[in-house]
């Protein structure tokens, strides 16, 4: 079962968007950098002028590992988004033994324990 995220007041737009099957990213209006995970203050320049952007949902697998010693084996992964930042996620709806670094993936949304949808990725 997917553990439910516990949002902060300042991250609720991310989770509300996820509920509508949209992946949001933060981009800094001062330095122009995207970052992940989303913060109110830019982790690069500390500006408070960070703005939500809708991500393309496309990316490539930077690294992954299939956890074999689990009730149901699963693939944890770092996915590098088309916009630049790399985020932790799972690779789902595929043959776990066929996952490769560099593979292109697209975002999908899966319900967690609370019903809140969370972004995951599947081969594109």
């Amino acid at each position: 079962m997917i553990a439910a995220p516990t949002p902060f007041p300042e991250t609720t737009p991310y989770w509300e968007a996820a509920a509508r099957e949209k992946l949001l990213l933060k981009q800094c209006a001062s330095c122009g950098e995207y970052h992940f995970y989303p913060r109110a203050l830019c982790p690069f320049c500390f500006s408070d002028r960070t703005e939500w952007r809708e991500a393309s949902g496309r990316g490539t697998i930077y690294a992954f590992s299939v956890t074999r010693r689990a009730e149901i084996p699963y693939a944890i992964a770092y996915v590098t988004l088309a916009e630049g930042p790399t985020m932790l996620s799972n690779i789902v709806d595929c043959d776990l033994d066929a996952i490769r670094i560099g593979q292109t993936v697209k975002v999908v949304f899966k319900p967690s324990e609370s019903g809140q949808l969370v972004p995951m990725f599947t081969p594109a």
């Binding site: 997917i2 553990a3 439910a4 995220p5 516990t6 949002p7 902060f8 991250t11 989770w15 950098e33 995207y34 970052h35 992940f36 995970y37 989303p38 913060r39 830019c42 982790p43 690069f44 930077y62 690294a63 992954f64 590992s65 299939v66 956890t67 074999r68 010693r69 689990a70 699963y74 944890i76 992964a77 770092y78 630049g84 930042p85 790399t86 985020m87 932790l88 996620s89 799972n90 670094i101 560099g102 967690s112 969370v118 995951m120």
Partner: protein
């Protein structure tokens, strides 16, 4: 630390237990403290500085932090440092103690570590955290099932992808540790293993096998750090702290690179302070939560070039008496002991044994006058603190 502000590790103790069913965490801390004080030839009332991390009994009790254990041990202090850097805390404590002693803030510092995760049945490597929800990243990570082992496994996977590192090369690190552990009567795993044994053991999280992972053990350790006057009046050969470096590494706002760790920064800082190079080091204690931890750390410390760690560790190069860089001659976390899931303390202790010339004769490095100890606290794949110490026998 300044060149005229040297401090010395004058007392060491590693608890012999590996499963502490009959002992509380508080008692384990007391026993290791007593052991190190006696090893130094001092008494408890000589201690005026105390250093501990989040493994101490009572840490989570309301309003307690380090005070519960100080009360229990009956320490009367003028200096306290409870820097928490997980498994690397104790190397940081040595550096901080050296600075405090040089500044005249205390004279004799005690550092303790203890834990009983094995007696408590804690699935250290394979359980997903369910607490720490005030951590800003928790909501963006916990839904995906991060565990200690799969976070390190992703580093191994990426290293293999970029540099062609193989499971067989990683296995050599465990093989070397097992060669050393056979001589340690307290080691949890004393059987010598082969590369085949490692790669044929069950996969826990690809590409890490069971034998790529460290043990889960109970026990602990303690150190006494003091200034030159006291250290040179005691019975053991003085072991001087000549260099220390520290660096946390994190996800860099999403600019993630799993092929290196904080040792890339802590190592050069320690070497520069000590005025020595990796080629000068006779013995290295390298944090070995997993085989991949050792490989990436060795590269980042400069023992070989980035990407060449696989070739460097292969063919017994880390085995004392055989290879060029004897490492973890107590068997390390992979075979001997990983008390409280924090391996930094035992790394320092074995380095001091090597410098004193009191490691097991089968693994003692000849003329060992310069050693390195490195600790990694946290997870290589997300956030961790790297601490490097360089120690010299006078």
């Amino acid at each position: 630390m300044s060149r005229n502000g040297f401090a010395y590790i004058a007392g060491i103790f590693e608890h012999p237990t590996r499963k502490a069913d009959g002992k509380s965490l508080a008692l384990l801390h007391a026993e290791v403290a007593k052991g190190a004080i006696e090893d130094a030839g001092l008494s408890k009332n000589d201690i005026d500085g105390y250093f501990c991390a989040g493994d101490v009994a009572g840490w989570d009790a309301r309003g307690a932090g380090p005070f519960s254990i100080i009360d229990y041990l009956g320490l009367r202090l003028r200096y306290l440092d409870s820097t928490e850097s997980w498994g690397s805390s104790y190397l940081v404590h040595v550096a901080h103690a050296a600075e405090a002693i040089a500044a005249g803030k205390c004279r004799v510092a005690l550092i303790t570590l203890a834990g009983r995760p094995r007696a408590d049945g804690f699935n250290t490597g394979t359980s997903v955290a369910s607490d720490g929800l005030s951590a800003a990243e928790a909501q963006f990570e916990l839904p995906y099932g991060p565990t200690v082992v799969n976070l390190y496994a992703m580093c191994a996977m990426r290293h293999m992808h970029e540099f062609g590192t193989t499971s067989e090369q990683l296995a050599w690190i465990k093989v070397a540790a097992s060669h050393h552990a056979q001589h340690n009567p307290n080691a949890m795993l004393r059987d010598v293993v082969t590369v085949e044994d490692v790669v044929n053991s069950p996969l826990i999280a690809d590409p890490l096998h069971r034998l790529d992972c460290c043990v889960i053990s109970d026990g602990g350790g303690a150190l006494i750090v003091t200034g030159p006057e006291i250290a040179k009046s005691l019975k053991h050969p003085p072991v001087r702290v000549i260099g220390a470096g520290y660096a946390p590494k994190h996800q860099m706002g999403g600019k993630i690179d799993l092929t290196y760790c904080g040792a890339r920064w802590s190592g050069p800082r320690a070497f520069a302070e000590a005025g020595v190079t990796p080629a000068d080091i006779k013995y290295a204690s390298i944090y070995d939560s997993f085989t991949i931890t050792v490989l990436i750390t060795l590269e980042d410390l400069g023992f070989c070039a980035k990407g060449e760690g696989g070739a460097f560790v292969a063919d017994g190069n880390l085995i004392s008496g055989i290879g060029k860089l004897p490492f973890n001659t107590d068997g390390g976390g992979l075979c001997n002991n990983h008390p409280s899931n924090r391996g930094g303390m035992t790394k320092i202790i074995e380095a001091v044994r090597q410098l004193r010339g009191t490691a097991h004769p089968k693994v003692q490095v000849k003329n060992c006058d310069l050693a390195l100890a490195h600790g990694t606290g946290g997870a290589l794949g997300t956030r961790h603190g790297s601490a490097t110490l360089i120690l010299e026998r006078e």
